[in-house]
Symmetry: C2
Subunit: 217 residues, 2 copies
DNA sequence: CGTCATCTTGATTACGCTCAAGCTCCGTGG
DNA sequence: CCACGGAGCTTGAGCGTAATCAAGATGACG
């Protein structure tokens, strides 16, 4: 595995010490290979997952193959909270990764009842918030703005100077509602305008934060 | 007001007897005129709302005026649960309507703690679910499919033979990520194909459920 | 070093947007 | 009761952004 991710949850997360420990104690660590399915569309949704290392995407495929990616998840993120008895989206490993898997019922029985409820509620709220931002992006942004927003967000989430991208162009395209060709063109354009700089197609550095933020709108 | 909506919550709602009553007792009924703001973008989000009669839209406006509509709400629906301390979307009355307004803290104090938490959780989950469907629509559906999906859903939510639409074309367009012209063209197209039939621009009837469902995909 | 998947770039097409005109539906006032 | 006016909706013509189709370039890996 060429790309590696730190294991610590990021500071913005509520999944801190106390409940984090509870999850750790109760959960089972599982390893998934790149592109392996964590759970499938229409599977029962009675498990909760947390990324330990690596990265995950959730996606939904239409009968004719068109795909929409719901979101990407990084170490510390909870996922699999999609509502209803069954998953609407499937989840796959973006790269080799380790996932902490928890049974909801087991957690409840373990007494962390209230704490757990809060944890899930927070994660669900954050999920909803991100999904709403995603709506605006898909519905009302241009290709260039979409790509700029994507890079900007990615840099924010994993705050480092140079950012590694665990996903391929097709994943980006399906997240942004574009084609890989358009994504590629926009990336070239942003690089041409000296707003970002790529070192290989999976790693970039922001050269002009203001310009990027302006495009992300 | 030419269009009127029934006051009873629809059957699919959890907000049934017990908690429904609690909400009724605790909340304040308020009347809003067409296009009046229920709450604004960036306002504090410590209230919960339920549509009593009429209909509501939530929307988000970009600095240059582009608008994305989050969802439409009908009698019985809870809204205003957007996460975080502040609203990301604003809410406006689609037509003259009556809204039940509740203070979260007051509700908690009233003892309905657990019940209330469940109610909010359910509403949030449903919200997330609908938002995820919306993602797929915005990201990967064609104009025709978007409009077909919209009509189909509207008919499902308000199950009557002929369906009244409380929203104008601009609202539809901003929900679907299209322009009013494209929405109008697609509606004409669907009517031309004998899939739906319009009696005036705010009322329609589905003539071919299968075809509509197929387009909605 | 060769092979294959992934990514980029180019040429062309098409879907949906823009701009513009006309139509329909209502409310208002003569 | 009908004429007028205006907002909202529909339709048309032309355009532009992103999709499609098609080569190349790059890069990872055996």
């Amino acid at each position: 595995m060429s790309i590696s991710y730190a294991i610590e949850p990021r500071s913005s997360h509520v999944a801190a010490s106390a409940t984090g420990d509870l999850l750790d104690r109760m959960g089972v660590r599982m390893a998934f290979a790149k592109d392996e399915e964590v759970y499938g569309q229409d599977e029962d949704a009675d498990l909760i997952y947390r990324v330990v290392s690596g990265a995950v995407r959730t996606s939904r495929v239409m009968s004719d193959g068109r795909r929409q990616i719901g979101d990407f998840y990084y170490p510390g993120d909870l996922f699999g909270l999609e509502p209803g008895p069954e998953h609407r989206f499937s989840a796959e490993a973006l790269c080799d990764c380790v996932i902490l898997v928890l049974k909801r019922t087991a957690l409840k029985a373990a007494g962390g009842e209230a704490e757990l409820a809060n944890l899930i509620m927070d994660a669900t709220m954050r999920e909803l918030q991100r999904t709403q931002e995603h709506l605006l992006l898909l519905g009302r942004k241009t290709a260039c703005e979409k790509v700029a927003t994507f890079l900007s967000e990615l840099a924010d989430r994993r705050d480092a100077d140079t950012v590694d991208m665990p996903m391929c162009r097709q994943d980006m395209a399906d997240y942004l509602g574009l084609t890989i060709e358009t994504v590629s063109r926009m990336l070239s354009q942003l690089q041409g305008a000296s707003i970002v700089e790529f070192q290989g197609c999976r790693q970039f550095r922001i050269r002009n934060h203001d310009a990027l933020a302006r495009l992300a709108a």
